[in-house]
Symmetry: C2
Subunit: 223 residues, 2 copies
């Protein structure tokens, strides 16, 4: 049974993983008869009140909040090697741009969280496909932009796309339920809630992204 | 566009709404071209660390945490009338048995949260169909058991089923991705994560439940 790492960043669109996207990823992986292994970095996040969308000034644990989406079963990123998975997928949500990297505040000057960068590089070097939804291609641009210059999409928001290109990625506009496939680097991305779209469209786009990632995972790269 | 109330109880299986179930409900409603209106009571929940599954001793707001699943858009139950919706659906999670009622600690002696009971009764009296997943049929048994004696399922757990029957409901065993339909009272239920089953099965069962609820919503009852 293929084992797919899913890197979460908390639980809730404004300070963690976007919940609908994360569940769409888990659903699509299970649909392929593969095992989703939920992963998260051990770090704090800045809590956002999801009613007012304002910071509360309090902190929460990214790992502990991610466990809510994972029904308790989440592994610290520090304990895994990216090469041990058949693929790795990142849902979006502001947590991807605030916790997995700090693109939300620093744009193209952002830094990727250390364990996230390590695990993604290990997987990529081992030829494993990678999938990114919503704003999480910013993490891919930071980690792989200079070395690989991957093709990615975050939809059609010019300022965000410019940020990804400034980090060395090539941005390709994409409709809400579509995907952009970088066959050379085995990286697939989909805009998801980068558009204000219906949950069924988000599921369609993420479903296509996971389908492509699973297809690549079944055809190992010559590394 | 039909308007379906979705009553949430927080965000996370051990102290709130089960996240996969809640998203499956929202996805199924959108698939029918209907509008999901997320609702939650204004009350506190006892926070559970989802890694250790132990209480932290801290409180969180049910409404504020439910807003995470609702992407910020959640309405306090106190502000709505159940009769104004075309149907009402409750996902499960311990929040349904700890916050929407206290079945988790009191069993058949439980009390339903006041606003939850009012909104469900208003909808039922107006002939609107009601859908329940996982442990949330315990809320239906408490609110309607004595007056209506509805047919419900929580899967096949005897102790839980006995609790529902002690409140006046009739329990019917049901497979994981199946539904139990009470046509007379327009109440549909599905076991979801009452079984340790795959997320795709949970989506299948909840999809069938919402399909039936939507079918009933399109054929108004003679009230």
């Amino acid at each position: 049974m293929p084992k797919i790492g899913v890197i979460l960043s908390g639980c809730g669109v404004f300070d963690g993983s976007e919940i609908h996207e994360a569940v769409a990823v888990l659903h699509a992986i299970d649909r392929h008869g593969a095992q989703a292994v939920c992963l998260a970095p051990e770090m704090e996040l800045n809590e956002i009140n999801h009613l007012s969308q304002q910071p509360t000034g309090k902190k929460r644990s990214v790992l502990m909040e991610s466990a809510r989406i994972a029904r308790g079963d989440v592994t610290p990123l520090a304990k895994v090697n990216g090469a041990d998975f058949d693929a790795i997928v990142l849902p979006g949500g502001f947590g991807a741009a605030k916790n997995l990297c700090d693109f939300a505040s620093k744009g193209a000057d952002c830094t990727a969280q250390e364990q996230v960068a390590r695990v993604l590089k290990e997987a990529q070097k081992a030829g494993k496909p990678l999938g990114f939804a919503c704003i999480s291609p910013a993490v891919a641009a930071r980690v792989f932009g200079k070395d690989l210059g991957p093709n990615l999409t975050i939809g059609d928001d010019k300022a965000t796309a410019d940020g990804l290109e400034a980090m060395g990625a090539t941005h390709q506009n994409c409709e809400g339920d579509g995907i952009v496939v970088d066959n050379r680097h085995r990286i697939v991305s989909t805009p998801a809630y980068m558009y204000d779209q219906r949950i069924t469209s988000v599921f369609t786009g993420i479903g296509k992204m996971v389908d492509k990632v699973m297809e690549m995972a079944r055809q190992p790269a010559a590394v």
